[in-house]
């Protein structure tokens, strides 16, 4: 029976003991707030990690020198990967859409009186396709310029901002910057990519590998080969092709342990996903435990209130209340309490989510679905924990209850 009168009486009972009601719902408030805040912050962090990794290109494969063992890379590697090997490899891997060799070097870039140390990649124009790079301004260096060994440079968004100030657009294209003292012409500036783990991907610069090998790094071995598969479905095929072809090119016996490692972006992504999913589950479990503790708080108070109100129960039964009436009254009270706690918890949790999201620098917002789940859960907690004392109270004969001191 949930009549208007029953609701009114339950509301009255909750309001008469304002302080006790408040203390009771505190546990639920904290529990629900924790569930909301932890899950939405966890979700925001996960989606940021995912979007960053996806920004690198989901079809991306990285070939690095040195074999991977259970403990990591074997170093120093016996056989370096050379530019010639990379060119030979390109012809032997049909599942690969594009491939670019990379030599990474920390270069000092200077413009006028401003200078910055920037991780600079000596590579080919194909890197733009492999890594999905988009330009905010200008263009990537041309294949012709690359073939001619032109002194062209493409700046990452942060590198451009450091050198030219953060005016938008920077107007850097056409300017001449010095790279380790050598003059280079800025031909393009990249659109911002964002943070990848601890690395700011926008603090970057790209120069033609031919130019670099002539003047900047000298003849050098490759730091890595970046390749993109034709589709996400062909990642495994592309990996196998690279494995086989590079083993042959490097002159290793087929089946012998390779002296290089092929890492796919999906591997990284799925590892990250596993980690973040575990983290979210863990956080959710902690939040769930605090909600459970809140529920036990409700049960405690309901038990105390049954004891205190045993005489009242006796009176109600003496004037004709059935067991179900008493039961529904107490369950209703518990639901009202836990619902109030749930609503308050959603409010507090949303606030924590917004503040925490700002502090962590992620765009976190509580979702309507998690709000609903938390509310439904708090009501369920109320019913479950309110039911036991209510059942106990409804079993008493009126006289037993009235004689209770």
């Amino acid at each position: 029976m949930v009549s208007a009168a029953g609701l009114g009486m339950a509301l009255r009972a909750v309001l008469v003991n304002r302080l006790r009601s408040l203390l009771t719902i505190l546990g639920v408030v904290i529990g629900v707030a924790a569930v909301i805040a932890l899950t939405s912050l966890g979700r925001a962090t996960t989606s940021r990690v995912e979007s960053t990794v996806e920004g690198l290109g989901t079809n991306l494969l990285v070939v690095s020198p040195g074999a991977a063992t259970a403990t990591g890379f074997v170093s120093p590697q016996q056989a370096p990967i050379t530019l010639a090997q990379e060119q030979a490899l390109q012809a032997a891997v049909p599942a690969v859409d594009a491939m670019a060799p990379v030599i990474t070097t920390a270069a000092t870039l200077a413009y006028g009186s401003t200078s910055a140390t920037v991780p600079t990649e000596a590579t080919t124009v194909d890197i733009a396709r492999v890594r999905n790079l988009r330009l905010a301004e200008g263009s990537f260096f041309s294949p012709a310029a690359q073939a001619a060994g032109a002194a062209d440079i493409v700046l990452g968004a942060q590198a451009a901002a450091d050198l030219f100030g953060s005016s938008d657009p920077p107007g850097a294209v056409g300017a001449t910057v010095e790279v380790n003292g050598l003059p280079f012409t800025v031909v393009g500036v990249l659109a911002p990519l964002g943070q990848s783990g601890a690395t700011n991907q926008d603090l970057s610069a790209f120069v033609p590998i031919t130019t670099a090998m002539g003047e900047l790094t000298g003849p050098a071995d490759l730091s890595a080969i970046y390749a993109s598969a034709r589709s996400a479905g062909e990642m495994a095929l592309a990996t196998a092709e690279i494995d086989a072809a590079l083993t042959a090119i490097q002159g290793l016996a087929p089946g012998s342990a390779p002296d290089f490692t092929v890492t796919s972006q999906t591997q990284v992504l799925s590892t990250l996903n596993t980690v973040t999913a575990e983290l979210t589950t863990f956080l959710g479990a902690i939040a769930g435990i605090s909600l459970l503790v809140g529920g036990i708080g409700i049960m405690n108070i309901m038990l105390v209130s049954v004891t205190e109100r045993t005489r009242e129960i006796g009176i109600r039964k003496a004037v004709g209340a059935r067991r179900a009436d008493i039961l529904s009254q107490f369950v209703l009270e518990a639901v009202l309490l836990s619902l109030a706690g749930g609503v308050l918890g959603v409010a507090v949790g949303s606030l924590i989510t917004l503040l925490g999201g700002r502090a962590l620098g992620v765009a976190a917002s509580p979702s309507a679905s998690s709000d609903l789940v938390a509310l439904a859960f708090s009501v369920a907690v109320g019913v479950v924990f309110g039911a036991y004392p209510a059942v106990r109270a409804s079993r008493l004969m009126p006289m037993q209850a009235l004689r209770y001191e």
Binding site: I315, V319, L402
Partner: protein, 240 residues
């Protein structure tokens, strides 16, 4: 032919310590419709225990109890609740009002559980309070009222569903003589309207107003006297 209230060899034991304390040791009692019965006896000899069994507020340990010809022991919880709701109005020595509810809401309470529509409930509760002379206290909670006023609220509550049986356990015990007389007049009036009234009292003048006095001693009926000359001339015995 069974009486309205019929007890045969009713016993009641309370568990105390390791054993059982026999509060009632075999009560035989029959009350007809329309009677006005005073139950007397020394303190602690089982009067309240007897009333709670007649009022279906507790179960007897042994013996048989029939109300309106129906064996109470065989009834379900809900059927017992229905008896308390429709047949019995109980007035307690300690008032036993719900402290969080107003006078009006306390009188409404039996009607809430009997599913009387709210508007009708409120109207009847207000009318009962007016009849008892405490209409102006309708919005007050029990702690804001005197003992006499509280007991009149309790009587109104007992009358809310117009039950044929009124049970009152020392209704005047906590009241001064004037308030006590008002309450007693009301009970006598209810009996005059045809209701059966069973009243526990220590006061000989109160007992003298009843047409019948049942004296309880040591958990048994020691004597049972009818007084044909009693001033409260009501319908008398023999209804049913």
């Amino acid at each position: 032919m069974s009486a309205f209230i019929e007890l045969e060899g009713v016993t009641k034991g309370f568990p105390v310590g390791g054993g059982v304390y026999p509060a009632l040791r075999g009560i035989d009692l029959a009350v007809e419709r329309g009677e006005f019965v005073a139950v007397t006896g020394p303190s602690g000899h089982g009067k309240s225990t007897l009333m709670s069994i007649i009022g279906v507020l507790d179960r007897p340990t042994g013996g048989r109890y029939r109300l309106e010809g129906v064996e109470v022991a065989g009834l379900s919880e809900d059927a017992m609740a229905r008896l308390r709701s429709r047949t019995i109005g109980f007035v307690f020595q300690g008032f036993h009002l719900v402290p969080t509810l107003t006078a009006l809401e306390n009188v409404e309470l039996p009607m809430v559980y009997a599913r009387v529509p709210p508007a009708e409930r409120r109207r009847r509760a207000q009318a009962l309070l007016e009849w008892a002379g405490i209409g102006e206290h309708a919005r007050q909670r029990p702690v804001q009222m005197s003992g006499g006023e509280q007991q009149r609220v309790a009587i109104c509550r007992a009358l809310a569903l117009d039950p044929p049986l009124i049970l009152a356990d020392e209704p005047t015990g906590n009241l001064d003589s004037h308030s006590g007389r008002v309450v007693l007049d009301q009970l006598a009036g209810l009996n005059a309207e045809g209701r059966t009234v069973v009243l526990v009292t220590h006061d000989p003048t109160v007992a003298a107003r009843a047409r019948r006095e049942v004296h309880i001693f040591d958990g048994r009926v020691e004597w049972d006297r009818r007084r044909p000359d009693a001033p409260s001339a009501a319908g008398g015995a023999g209804g049913g």
